[in-house]
Symmetry: C3
Subunit: 268 residues, 3 copies
């Protein structure tokens, strides 16, 4: 592993110029924040879940974000329709396996989505990704549980098995493409004291994947920008409430110099 | 068109005194903000969508706000029941045609609502209103697309055809009653960098329509107050995150002098 | 009634250490705030409502919060399944009777939940609790209506009848256990200008009930901590927008000295 610099800011600039539509079928807890973070980046979020319109909406989008945080059986059916539409159009599909391992329904629906839709980026915390990799982890709700495994190896294995990019968020984020591997070491502990930073990072990855075909690179760039902004926001805040608002300010105002200077990325 | 002053603040004061119940069937992305802006104005928001209770809830309300942002077939059925109840009681019904033109489902359901319920105020951005007027615009998600038409004429035509008030939001807002026409030139560019300002403005119009029978005047007054507050908030903020919070502060603290001094309204 | 000091902070510290999972089936308006306040306290919120997984999710939780704010018939069925699972496991079930008295559906579903699930804490504003006690109050949406009754007597009566703890929030909060009675006199008028403070206080009670078996004591302690934080936040804010953000900061930073010094509790 070697410390490298990536041109993450250039992709952010591309989002600001192209304003890609990022279609979401996401969770009802953080749906506003998912939309708002894409907007703050300069993209155009759209949240539509009716099974009668998701295919058409995915068809006008540049990427599709799925998040099973508050799944129901019907909602996952709509995700499959949207996902198939996205696959036909050739836009990237990002799946946040939020809460995988917490219940049988979540496990079953994750595997159905992975089997029936071509998922381009799988994203979760360590215990969620372990579960999706086939480990018998029991997660405690939506927060990460302990995993006695080398997560880098697990992520690389899953990326190869599913022919996709795998993102494991945590203190250090792992981005495993079929070939490339990035470790992103940015971020702030304050992110763990606010609901929605995980879901937002998935939406950020969705926005970056909308403007860059190298999906591992797009995901790493998105995480760099999001987490550099989080570090800036943490410095300006006195707790999780003000941190959250400052995060949107900092994403919106993020500039090239800051991203280049503050990024901490390793690649292999 | 002539620059005029309207007594927008007097209606805001009436909301603060009467605390009208504003019933919403709105979109799941911005539902919190829709409720919170009505609360910040001094009104009493209620969000209820079960088809078994919407008629009764509309019956204790002073206005009804419908927003198809995250529509489903069932949800629109509940909107029709609530709308019919509101029509029977004689309270104003406001419809935000959020995302009209993006999918066939949205177009179909907009027209069904307009045909089956007496809608008193139709509200959208330029491409949404163009679509509802029968133009063949294809909108890109929920953000406005370009329209090669004179929007004032389109809005006036739709107001006459549907015997209602039509509100087109944008850099300059158009409020077209069957007779009257207002242009509101307040607002801040920062409003376009935050998700929910469009939906919130619909809820604001709903609150103003709850206390004033001249609906074009109510809508123009609501937009003036909301957008003057937005201008104040923009001055106090360093980005979209802090702007959003300051917006609620500024709405809550809005006073007569500020509204009278800062408003930019033209009428015809 | 005598002024007393309770060790409310000790329970908050226990939440921070144990990080209990608080499972919610709550309302779609305030779902984010309900999750975020539990997170700010140090707990682990989980929001899952699919009838196929609620029993299993309740089974990994330490308390269950139900809130009928945006109920539907199906949603209440899921609440019953989750509630039965919580009852079997022996974790406390808290029910926010949000909007009881506003429609027939709400009344009916409240009584069904109370009859079919063992509810450990019933929480509402004065008119909601009056309605659930059998009084013929007609509430105006979700804000409290006038009740011509001694609320302490009503709350005590309901607690005895339903063998549970009853919490009535308002300018002074009443916490009536089967034996004990607490009055909490903390809080700020600013709480009434923001949507969600009522729902959040229910989630706070849920988090405190997750770590303390004496439920009246847990509820009183949760209200003390939440409302002391609200008083601190009000001092730092210029309106409801900034108040809301500061509230999360203040909850997160709350310390023993502040809680002990500022609390205003009476007991009987």
């Amino acid at each position: 592993m070697a410390r490298i610099k990536i041109a993450a800011y250039d992709l952010l600039e591309k989002i600001r110029e192209e304003k890609p539509v990022v279609h979401h079928l996401t969770n009802w807890v953080t749906i506003y924040d998912c939309a708002n973070i894409v907007k703050a980046l300069g993209g155009s979020p759209v949240m539509a879940h009716a099974k009668e319109e998701v295919a058409q909406m995915a068809d006008i989008a540049s990427s599709l974000v799925l998040n099973i945080g508050t799944l129901t059986v019907d909602f996952v059916e709509a995700m499959k329709i949207a996902g198939s539409s996205a696959n036909r159009k050739g836009i990237p599909v990002i799946l946040d396996v939020c809460g995988a391992g917490a219940t049988g329904l979540r496990d079953q629906k994750c595997f159905e989505l992975l089997d029936e839709v071509k998922i381009d980026i799988i994203k979760g915390n360590s215990s969620e990704i372990a579960r999706v990799s086939g480990e018998s982890v029991r997660t405690k709700g939506v927060d990460a549980a302990k995993v006695n495994k080398n997560m880098v190896e697990l992520a690389r294995g899953l990326a190869k098995k599913r022919k996709c990019t795998v993102v494991v968020t945590g203190k250090e984020d792992i981005v495993a493409g079929e070939e490339k591997l990035y470790i992103v070491k940015n971020g702030s502990p304050m992110m763990t004291h606010v609901v929605g930073t995980g879901c937002m990072s998935t939406s950020v990855i969705g926005a970056f994947a909308a403007v860059e075909r190298d999906l591992a690179y797009a995901a790493a760039s998105g995480l760099v920008c999001f987490e550099v902004a989080a570090e800036c926001a943490a410095k300006l805040s006195s707790g999780p409430g003000t941190f959250k608002e400052k995060l949107f300010d900092c994403i919106y105002r993020l500039d090239k110099k800051t991203v280049n200077k503050m990024q901490k990325v390793e690649a292999w």
